[in-house]
Structure formats: structure tokens, C-alpha cells
Point group: C2
Chain length 263, copies 2
DNA sequence: ATGGAGGGTTGACCCAGCGTCAAGGTCAAG
DNA sequence: CTTGACCTTGACGCTGGGTCAACCCTCCAT
């Protein structure tokens, strides 16, 4: 008669594995000697070897039971099913591999190539890295929100950059984003923005943009928090009858001078 | 500001996943409002999206951290390493698939083809299924014990079966293994066995067989337990100066009439 | 004011297949 | 008698969360 470690050695498994098979019911619990040790016979060795043979062949332990008791036909059927699972898993991993390869190839962390190109264009205009990072984070969110529209949105942004006023606007963002109240650039920026807004309204480019209100509010508040000067610019524009930041709107006259919505 | 479910929705993950990332330290725990709710800002959305981007690409969560903080070079290196892991896993699964295919193709549960052929030959000699099962279990253990030698051992067994005495021996095992004391077949079997043993000793085929003593004892005791007549046969042979079953030995004269070793 | 719906919170168990302590009982040998 | 090797049960860990459970918070309608 055998102890558990002898049994395990004969079948080429660990003691822990044998006890695990007892727990999941694959191997019946044997008799104990008077001190509580399990004592095994050769039949246990045989059953354990068969369990390992199946397990080594990739059969999940949960299905080993049925296969051990199966006749030749169910056996073949179950094996085919297990092979199907294996094939599916392999395909999944291969898919993962190709995605990883694409990620490494260039899309820098959640950004589609078109956005990377747009950010590069901003850089070439002299925009500072800190501002670029703000833009980048915004674009990450937008890309996650509307992945199908992102390329067309970026295309429109490129068109906007053909407007000299837009280039002038970005030319203000070369240094650190730490503008204080009283900075003369704030009024200049507001002027440029207003001109851009007027032109956008005239071109009929204002209205449904595909984002929901919550999302717009989130983007607005983020911008306001990260760029100290933004609030000041917004205040000036508000006096002149504009609201919004990401989404531009003419404020009706009767709502002028009301509070900004809570961020 | 966002609640956890809003954050999760923006990044396209479940609330549970977000909390999981908190627990494993991938996403810093944010402030709470006075009622204990977590409140998130847009930066959390961005970080969460990046986490998901990497995780979806097959990066294990444990490595996402380092990749988020990595510069472009470490990034590329880590990605390559992850890809290596993926390739290894795919190979492992493919290997598993082919083993499963071989298992289904014929090696009937832990038995190499040569043994299956040998058992078939026994069957063709008229040996009963019950005896075949006993043999089969024994061969499963032997094959697990010395997988490299199994084919040559079987080849030797086939040679032994060319001996008419061996065929005669097996011809006794056609029915149920329930021989009682006094059965005349017992003496006949003992006679045949003794002739075979004598011939084996003369041919010098007795001695080292590659099995350790424990293993031989295990096989012996199993045979004795499963076949009621075996004990009786063995007793007769012992009187005539033989010991062992699986491994045959001439017992020196001074050890005659001692106890059988404990099984 | 109260009740219900629809959020949120922590905590704990679940999946596979064991590895790895922990804390203590048993056995054989010197 | 001691030592060291082996046995026992029990519990936690890993991956990436899913799925309750039990309870709290907020808002809306009555």
C-alpha cells in the first residue's frame, strides 16, 4: 500500500494535486490508516495516471470526469468540443497579438493616427507641450466617445487651422498656461475667439455636434480647471453674449447675466 | 464631476472593473463627496481609457502600470516581451491541441499503441475481458514508470508469446478470475509457470529489469488482490523454491519457508 | 413625511489549478 | 528521546473581474 507521496510519485504529479483531485471529486478519497494517513492501492495509481493523461492533453479538469466514464462515441464528441475551445482560444490570442502590434506600431496610447497628426501640426505652430497635453487628453476622451467620427472631426479641425485667425489664436499658447487676470493677451484671445465664433455661426456650423450635454459640460469644466486664463476669457465672451467653450452658443438676451451652470 | 458609473460609461468599462483598478493601484482613489461617493474628473477618464487600451491589447494588468509611465524605448521593449509571452502561450496551446488529437486518434487513455496491440493479441488467444483489464492496468503503471522502455518490454513479451507454454498458460484465463482452493487448474498453471521460469533462468533472462523494488512489490500485491487463484499458485511455487510474480527469483535454500514480504 | 426607484458603498464568494505557507500530528531511525 | 521527513487540514494567492448581499444616499411623486 502507498502513501500519498508515493502515489503522487508513481503518477508524476504533486501531492497537492492529488489532494486537489480528491476535493473536486475526480479521485475518490481512499481509506485512512489509524493515524489518519490516506492509503492507496494500485487502482488509484491507474486512475490518477489516466486523469493526468487527459489533463496533460488539455482537457479541463471539469470534463475529465465525463471522459473517463465515456464510451468511445461520447469520448470523440467531447474531444472535438474541447478542440474547438482550444482553437477559439488560439484565435483570441492571435487577435490580441495583432492588436498589440498595432499599438506598438504608432497609435500612441489610445490615440488614433489622425489625432497624432493633428497634434503634430499644433506643435509645428509653436504650441507649448503643456497645451498639447491638454488637447491630447481631450482628444483621447473624444476618440473614446465617438470612435467612428474622430477622423472626420479631425479633418474639420484641419480645415479650421487654415483660417489665419485660428493660427493666431494658437500662437498665444506657446508658454506655460498660467495667465493671470489683467494679462492683455486675454482680451486679444477673446477678440479672436469672437471673430471665429461669428464666422462659424454665419457658416451655419453651430448646432448638433454628436456629443451629449454631460460630455460637453465635462470637457468645458476640465478646460476651465487646467487653464487659469480660460475662465477670464470666458467671462469676457459671456458679457458679449456667448456661452460655451467646446460647444459655442449665442445666449438669448433674456438669459444674459445669469450664473454659469455648475461645473 | 462624475460618479463612478458615469466614469465607467465614458471609458466603456464596468463599475466593478473601475473598483478593481483602484484595488490593484492602477487608478488612484479619488476624493469622496460628503456621502462617501467617489467623484472623478476628466483626468481619471483619460487614465482609465489608457488602461483599457493597453489591457484590451493584451497587456496583463500587472504590467499596465509600467507601460503607462514608460518612455518610448522601455515601452517598445516591454511590448516585445509581452508579445513573446503571447507567442509562447499560443505555441503551448497548439502543442496541447496536437496531443489531444493524438489521444483521440487511438492511444486509448494512457496506453501506447504497442501495449494496445499486445492486449489485442491476448484477446485473440481467448483471454477474458476481466483478465485483460488486469493486464491493462498493470501496463498503464509500467508505461508511466518507464515510458522509454515500454516498447522494448512489449517486444520481449511478444517473443515470450511465441512459446507454446505461454500460450497454454494464458489459455487458462478465459473466464472469470474466481478460482477457489482445490481447483485442479491451479496445479497445472503452477507447473507451466515453473517450466517457463526454469527456461528463463537458463536463458539468463532473470535479474535487473529496470524497476525498483517498491514498484515490483506494488504490482505483485495488486495481482494477488485482484486474482483469487494467484495466491494459491504462488504458494505452490514457493514450496518449490521460487519467489516473486512480476520478478522471478530463485530463493536461496536458507530462506525457504520464511514469510512473504509484507505487501 | 413617506415610499419607491435607481443610483451608490463595502464586503465576500466564485471561476482553474494548483503553489505555498502555517501549525501541528506521526513515523522510523539513531 | 530527539531529529528529520512526511502526513494532516486550512487558508491565502494568482487573473480579471462577475455576481450577489446588505445597506446607504438622492431624488421624485404622492
Amino acid at each position: 500500500m502507498l502513501t500519498i507521496s508515493q502515489l503522487a510519485a508513481y503518477a508524476g504529479v504533486t501531492v497537492r494535486a492529488v489532494r486537489h483531485y480528491h476535493k473536486v471529486g475526480l479521485l475518490p478519497e481512499p481509506e485512512r490508516d489509524r493515524s489518519g494517513y490516506r492509503i492507496y492501492d494500485a487502482a488509484a495509481v491507474v486512475r490518477l495516471i489516466r486523469i493526468r493523461t487527459l489533463a496533460d492533453a488539455g482537457v479541463p479538469l471539469a470534463r475529465v470526469q465525463e471522459l473517463l466514464d465515456a464510451g468511445p462515441e461520447e469520448f470523440a464528441g467531447s474531444v472535438q468540443e474541447i478542440d474547438k475551445d482550444l482553437r477559439a482560444e488560439i484565435r483570441r490570442l492571435q487577435d490580441t497579438r495583432s492588436r498589440l502590434a498595432r499599438l506598438a506600431a504608432g497609435e500612441h496610447l489610445a490615440l488614433p493616427q489622425s489625432v497624432v497628426g493633428y497634434l503634430d501640426r499644433l506643435r509645428s505652430l509653436g504650441v507649448g507641450e503643456r497645451y498639447i497635453e491638454l488637447e491630447r487628453d481631450a482628444w483621447i476622451m473624444i476618440a473614446a466617445q465617438v470612435p467612428d467620427l474622430i477622423d472626420s472631426v479631425i479633418a474639420k479641425k484641419h480645415e479650421e487651422l487654415d483660417d489665419p485667425d485660428m493660427v493666431r489664436l494658437y500662437s498665444f499658447f506657446t508658454g506655460e498656461p498660467d495667465w493671470q487676470a489683467g494679462d492683455p493677451r486675454i482680451v486679444e484671445v477673446a477678440d479672436i475667439l469672437e471673430r471665429l465664433m461669428i464666422r462659424a455661426v454665419e457658416a451655419g456650423e453651430v448646432g448638433a455636434d454628436g456629443f451629449d450635454d454631460q460630455f460637453v459640460a465635462l470637457m468645458d469644466s476640465t478646460m476651465l480647471e487646467s487653464a487659469p486664463g480660460a475662465e477670464l476669457v470666458l467671462a469676457i465672451l459671456k458679457e458679449r453674449g456667448w456661452s460655451g467653450w467646446i460647444r459655442i452658443e449665442r445666449v438669448p438676451a433674456d438669459r444674459l447675466n445669469t450664473e454659469l451652470p455648475p461645473s
